[in-house]
């Protein structure tokens, strides 16, 4: 009963603080909205590019060719090494007869990829392994490892296109990450500043409260509430943006993006996860901001 009454007083004061400094509160909320919306775009971008690269990976495995005339025992040994390597996803051995049959089939089917493939092929055909790396970023390292195995003649380069895509997505990812971190720091700073101004404007009141026996915790709690209110308001818009925006994008693009190869991740689960994360980030950022302001006040007094 008692703590409930107290909490109402805190909530009332916190709300009053927000209203009394409506413009500063508004700028904090706005920063949060911008930051979190970018975060949402970023998170959805990342989960989709993860899907893209997964799509690419299954198509750009390494093509490993053995020397002509290696023994079965040597092939067995090489396969054993490949199978236990931590960067290897799936792999498949095809001897030269199977490889010949596959090429013949691709020609018969009029497969697009055959042009690229034929340009790189050597006669006579070699025994090959098709090796998928666990992710696109491990291809180079894996390629080098396999090339150093005794019976290996050569390893085909991973597709340049896939490398370019993964390099671009990585670059965009990094830039966005830096940008968001900067924005988050800015949001913390702005909220901290808003609350410091509120504390400052209520300095007289606070010093009287201190004088009549209010504890530091008691008199600063409304400011933490103020931060929380800013955080909650700041989270609502980006969450709505996430829930509605992604669905609209998914529906208008029909679930594919840029190239038909890449499927967008289904909205339902992703959107709720991202929305939930937005809420957590918003509230943490505003809590950190208000706690910094409160700590500064408490340590100064």
């Amino acid at each position: 009963m008692k703590s409930k009454g107290r909490f109402l007083i805190y909530a009332r004061d916190g709300f009053k603080n927000v209203c009394n400094h409506i413009f500063m509160s508004f700028s904090s909320v706005l920063t949060l909205i911008i930051t979190l919306s970018l975060c949402a775009v970023f998170l959805m971008f990342v989960s989709n590019t993860n899907q893209f690269t997964r799509d690419i990976e299954s198509q750009v495995a390494l093509r490993v060719e053995f020397h002509i005339g290696v023994s079965d025992a040597e092939i067995e040994a090489a396969l054993a090494e490949v199978s236990v390597h931590p960067l290897v996803g799936e792999y498949e051995f095809r001897n030269r007869y199977e490889e010949h049959a596959r090429i013949a089939e691709m020609i018969a089917d009029g497969d697009d990829r055959i042009e690229v493939f034929l340009a790189d092929i050597e006669a006579p055909l070699h025994d090959v392994i098709r090796v998928e790396a666990i992710d696109i970023y491990s291809l180079d390292e894996l390629s080098e490892f396999i090339l150093n195995l005794e019976p290996i003649y050569r390893v085909s380069d991973p597709s340049e296109a896939s490398e370019a895509i993964s390099a671009t997505t990585t670059a965009i990812r990094n830039v966005m990450m830096v940008f968001i971190v900067v924005l988050l720091v800015l949001a913390v700073f702005l909220i901290q500043n808003t609350i410091r101004v509120t504390i400052y404007s209520r300095q007289e009141e606070l010093s009287i409260m201190r004088l009549v026996g209010g504890s530091i915790g008691h008199i600063t709690f409304p400011f933490v509430i103020e931060g929380l209110i800013i955080g909650v308001i700041g989270a609502i818009v980006p969450i709505a943006f996430t829930l509605v925006g992604y669905r609209i994008m998914f529906n208008t693009t029909g679930g594919t993006f840029a190239i038909n190869l890449f499927q967008l991740v289904e909205p339902a689960r992703l959107v709720y996860q991202v929305g939930f994360l937005m809420g957590i980030i918003s509230i943490s950022v505003s809590l950190v901001g208000s706690l910094v302001a409160v700590a500064k006040y408490a340590l100064k007094d």
């Binding site: 009963m1 008692k2 009454g5 107290r6 007083i9 007289e204 009141e205 009287i208 409260m209 201190r210 004088l211 009549v212 026996g213 209010g214 504890s215 530091i216 915790g217 008691h218 008199i219 408490a298 007094d301």
Partner: protein, 226 residues
Amino acid sequence: MIEFTNVSKRYPNGVTGIHNLNLNINKGEFVFVIGPSGAGKSSFLKMISLQEKVSAGELKIANNDVTSISKFKSHLHRRKIGVVFQDFKLLPKLTVYQNVAFALEAVGLPAKEVRKKAMKVIYLVGLGNKVLSYPNQLSGGEQQRVSIARAIANNPDLIIADEPTGNLDPENSFQILSILKKLNEEGKTIIMATHNYDLIFDNGCRVIRIDKGAVVQDEVMGYHEV
């Protein structure tokens, strides 16, 4: 109740407020603190009300060493001390009732008790008919009575008043003093700094004279001697 042992107060700018003070004040005393401006009266009182930290020596209040008390604990001591200022320090946007209730809320009392205690002390200082007035609608004397009501709302054992009549005319000054006197008769310890020598009881009370940060006189005296 209050024990100063070799207490000094130096401000960060190097000015000495109080120098090497040794003094005891007992429970139930009414003590006047006098002395010229800048003598250190406020410095002395502010150390007791924990508004200023002691720079050297030892200060005990109600058998607790508060010399270097943490600001996260000081509120527990402040609740046992009522403070009254020359400039009242009322919040202008709050009514008489709210100004008093605010002090009770600050210590976390439940709403029902806040109401009961606030009304009790407001009637005690004779402002029952001004409960809903704002400070700027009150005379100086009435404002000071509100601040006394606020100071005693938490029922402290000790009341510190720093020139409480400094802004008041003689009539209001005597009224404030009589309230303090009454509180003293109820057993509260009162320490009051003043420049208004007319107020000092002529029936013998303790007067501490401070000059240049040191006690230069400390005795029970009558009006004619001051």
